[in-house]
């Protein structure tokens, strides 16, 4: 079996401007939604109490809401979680409230009659939430710096800059989706976003590796041609790899249940946009940053006789 029977290099770079405009629009849309709607942050970041209970029968959400309101819990969120018998209750953090909230909520629910079983309780105080948000931002920063430094060291600063811009644009787009649909942004989602960042950069690296190799191996090709060749020769691998990873992620979406739902969703968006951005955004950026053969091919005399010309051995 061979899916990709490509006779000639596909002229991706001819449409570079189009790709970049598409990216820019998606990016701006994502920023717009992030700015106007904001992220629906989980209680891990905002602080508050989350209670998951399981009923024997289908739970009557309105009754639960009414009871909680009557018992003085304002702004609570009562939703089904996974099945109609499982109920998730979010109580926002209020000044002076402590970890005792969950017990009071449970007492209110028990007072309704058929007492549910407590499946999960999470309480996060205000100081923790703030720290988590800060740590998340720091982790993102560290990833960016680490990747830029590594790529600049291994390749060229142009590659580093292009890769990080392309992939940060992925991250913003994932966040844009979460803002648009108001999906819950929790710690595992943050982990997924950062993992995707690493994964997408990895994608750009594969293409860049080929660009470098092609520059060294094939003479007489213009920079866009080199990039076209590099993308074309890695496209089958790109799609198969992403397909395989997506199979795993889809399996998580199907079998992982509600706990892994948004995690898998973030990965899905990340993987889909990852293909696009690392190939069709990063490469034009490299081109416009002015990458050229001279940056890779050292003067002949430095090459000892007999050394391979492909430069793949490092």
């Amino acid at each position: 079996m061979e899916f990709f029977r490509i006779k000639q290099d596909i002229p991706f770079m001819r449409h570079a401007l189009v790709f970049n405009i598409i990216s820019l629009i998606t990016f701006l849309l994502a920023v717009f939604f992030l700015a106007t709607r904001g992220l629906h942050l989980s209680i891990e970041f905002t602080g508050g109490t989350l209670i998951e209970v399981g009923y024997e029968q289908t739970a009557d959400l309105d009754k639960i809401r009414g009871k909680l309101e009557a018992d003085g819990f304002t702004d609570t969120q009562v939703i089904n979680f996974g099945s109609s018998r499982d109920v998730l209750i979010r109580v926002p953090l209020k000044a002076g409230e402590t970890a005792q909230v969950s017990e009071r909520v449970k007492a209110s629910l028990d007072a309704l009659g058929d007492a549910p079983t407590l499946k999960r309780v999470e309480f996060v105080g205000p100081q923790v939430g703030k720290e988590l948000a800060e740590d998340g931002a720091l982790a993102l920063l560290l990833v960016i710096i680490g990747i830029v430094v590594y790529l600049a060291f291994r390749f060229e600063w142009r590659f580093a800059v292009a890769a990080i811009i392309a992939n940060l644009h992925d991250v913003v787009i994932i966040l844009g989706f979460f803002a648009f649909f108001q999906w819950e942004f929790s710690l595992p989602v943050l982990a997924a976003v950062l993992a995707v960042l690493g994964y997408s950069v990895n994608e750009s690296v594969v293409v860049f590796d080929r660009v470098r190799e092609t520059f060294k191996k094939k003479r007489g090709l213009s920079t866009p041609e080199v990039i076209n060749h590099a993308i074309t020769s890695t496209i089958s691998r790109t799609i198969i790899t992403h397909g395989s990873t997506q199979m795993m992620v889809t399996s998580m979406l199907i079998f992982g249940g509600p706990a892994l739902h948004y995690f898998a969703l973030a990965l899905t968006i990340g993987i889909l946009f990852g293909i696009y951005s690392s190939v069709l955004v990063a490469s034009p950026l490299v081109m416009w940053l002015g990458v050229s053969r001279e940056q890779f091919v050292k003067p002949k005399k430095e090459n000892p006789a007999g050394a391979t010309e492909d430069g793949a051995c490092v």
């Binding site: 923790v128 710690l187 950062l194 994964y199 990895n202 691998r237 990873t245 795993m248 399996s251 051995c313």
Partner: protein, 622 residues
């Protein structure tokens, strides 16, 4: 050419054998057990205890499937949970004849059912996080300011004693914020006091000041003393928590310091969170102070005090019965001086009572105070979360020596044993607050495991089917390499006993999904080489060689992201990051080295290789 030297093959075989061995315990599952551990430092576990446990089980007609003696616990395995529950009661009755004064904690637990020889080489099943096994997780914040204030109050009392001992007259010692202010009538006394304090209290930094006719000494804690107090407060709180949790009877509690002022408490298997929280969250400290009898007897003063204007140097408290009481601020004794507290009954009135035992210094202070104050009342206060409650305010009838004190009056038996438990478990050096809580029910835990496993399994199958269909024999090799990756990853997690959480399982799945990338890279490269007309052997060699640089680069960028998560992540993110990072390392090894070894075994021996099974290689010209 396509052959590995012996040592490389040996490494691959050794690594796989290691992986298999350390993954093995995970397949045996867990069996119910009863775990007995000592909760008193003076009582050690010995073989006599083991014999007593076995005897008790035999008497109850219960058959254990194994009894294990470990340094800190004795574990008895049972075939089912029913027997386990009965056995717990039988053992409890046999070794803790007096439940109010238990020497051992008898807890329900699950232990690995893997054979002994595996356990002896430290091959244990993966350590499951609370979200997979159920239980409670608390993050407690220690109020360090409280610890410092408490220490300063104690120092203030010490300074008063010092002044009295040295015969130095002072105009009062008060604490204002984080400072102690000592007033004197003249500079001479102040100078003498300064020398005396500097000699006796090296922790204090003294500054002189003058205000009108007052000659003042302002004492504050030196920075290193500050630090030391905070460290020891944290340590004492951890010890105290450990003691309290022991009384709860939890099999494998985790109590750890996190950062400078936080404590993580994890109680696997605990479902009664209310009780756990109650015991943990109660920051009860005991204080014994004198009652200002004159002020308390005056209704006008009492009313003013109730409205927030107590006479200077006193505080207003409400007794259990609801009556107001004015208590002096000066602390006679704190819970630190307490060595034991037991619930019991008053020998004369047969009322429930709490019997306290004080240490030598405490006993001496108590004797002095009671001797000097016969006929007056003393208040025993239980301070919880900054709010004090007068447990009782008995009249001192005689001098009480020997450090044995009994508190009785207006208590139920339960209250008495609760108070005793709290006091016995030690007082906290500083108040604490729960700033994070996670409770996971056992059914949800099992559910999470099943969901995580299913996602991984089906994802793996899908990838395997595709790889084999697309790359034929090389696809099979890739799948075997991926299996080896899983094996090594699970083995590493088991060996390191890293906590596996649901995000951790997700990371396993994701890592496998990403790891196949390396094999795809290799296989595509080999195809490409074949397409360019290389011989099969050359194509294999070149494919692996050329893909290697790319694999390394791409894995390192992924690893950077993983490490950042590991450094800054907490809770669920950390669980994800650990697995993700380990998975990247194992995947480099398995996808490159293991798969190459397999390919070498398959093709390396054949000199004349006409074709290899890597699926159809399409050539543009053909």
């Amino acid at each position: 050419m396509n052959r590995y030297p012996l040592w490389k093959n040996a490494i691959v075989i050794l690594a796989l054998a290691f992986g298999f061995l350390y993954t093995l315990p995970n397949f045996f599952g867990e069996v119910p057990a009863v775990q007995v551990s000592s909760i008193k430092a003076t009582i050690k576990l010995d073989s006599a205890l083991k014999a007593r446990i076995e005897e008790a089980l035999a008497a109850a007609g219960l058959q254990p499937t194994g009894v294990f003696f470990e340094p800190n616990s004795i574990r008895v395995r049972f075939a089912d949970t029913d027997t386990q529950l009965k056995a717990r009661d039988a053992i409890e009755k046999a070794i803790n004849p007096d439940p109010a004064n238990a020497s051992f904690s008898v807890a329900l637990n699950l232990v690995s059912a893997s054979p002994d020889w595996l356990t002896s080489i430290h091959a244990l099943p993966m350590y499951l996080g609370l979200d997979l096994r159920g239980g409670v997780h608390f993050l407690l914040q220690v109020d360090m300011k409280g610890a410092i204030t408490k220490r300063l109050d104690a120092l203030g009392a010490d300074l008063r004693t010092l002044m009295r001992d040295k015969g130095l007259r002072h105009g009062g010692i008060v604490r204002e914020g984080q400072q102690l202010i000592i007033r004197f009538r003249d500079a001479e006394t102040r100078e003498k006091a300064r020398i005396a304090i500097a000699d006796n209290q090296p922790d204090l930094e003294l500054v002189e000041a003058q205000e009108g006719s007052d000659w003042k000494l302002i004492a504050s804690l030196k920075p290193q003393a500050h630090k030391r107090i905070q460290e020891s407060a944290l340590k004492q709180n951890i010890t105290t928590l450990a003691n309290r949790i022991n009384e709860l009877g939890v099999a494998e509690p985790v109590i750890q310091q996190q950062g400078a002022d936080r404590i993580v408490v994890q109680l696997p298997g605990v479902q009664d969170t209310a009780k756990a929280k109650d015991i943990l969250g109660r920051t009860a400290t005991l204080e014994i102070r004198m009652v200002d009898d004159e002020a308390s007897a005056n209704p006008a003063t009492l009313e003013a005090a109730a409205n927030g204007n107590p006479p200077p140097g006193t505080e207003y408290y409400v007794e259990r019965g609801g009556r107001g009481l004015i208590v002096k601020k000066q602390v006679v004794l704190t819970g630190d001086r307490l060595t034991d507290a037991q619930a019991g009954f008053d020998s004369q009135t047969h009322e429930p009572a709490v019997h306290l035992t004080l240490d030598a210094a405490g006993a001496r202070i108590f004797r002095d105070v009671t001797r000097e104050n016969v006929g007056k009342r003393m208040a025993i206060l239980l301070i919880e979360k900054g709010k004090g409650e007068v447990v009782t305010a008995p009249v001192i009838r005689t001098e009480i020596g020997g450090g044995r004190v009994q508190i009785s009056g207006r208590m139920t038996t339960t209250e008495a044993s609760d108070v005793a438990l709290l006091l016995r478990a030690g007082s906290l050096a500083a108040p604490m607050e729960i700033i994070e809580e996670r409770t996971i029910g056992p059914s949800l835990g099992a559910d999470n495991i099943a969901k995580g496993m299913n996602s991984t399994l089906w994802g793996f199958i899908a990838i395997a089917v595709f790889m084999i269909a697309y790359y034929l024999l090389f696809g099979l090799v890739s799948v075997i390499a991926l299996t080896a990756n899983l094996l090594l990853l699970v083995a590493l997690l088991s060996l390191l006993q890293a906590t596996l959480t649901l995000p951790g399982i997700a990371a396993v799945a994701l890592t496998l999904g990403m790891a196949i990338d390396a094999n795809v890279l290799i296989n595509e490269r080999i195809r490409e080489e074949l397409r360019n007309g290389a011989t099969p052997h050359a194509a294999i060699a070149a494919g692996y060689e050329r893909a290697w640089g790319t694999i390394l680069d791409s894995n390192i960028t992924t690893l950077i992201a993983g490490l950042a998560l590991l450094i800054f992540g907490s809770g669920p993110v950390r669980g994800f990051a650990v697995v993700h990072c380990l998975g990247i390392l194992t995947s480099i090894f398995s996808s490159v080295v293991v798969s190459r070894a397999l390919v070498n075994w398959i093709y390396g021996g054949r000199r004349k290789l006409a074709s290899i099974s890597i699926g159809q290689v399409w050539k543009p010209g053909a």
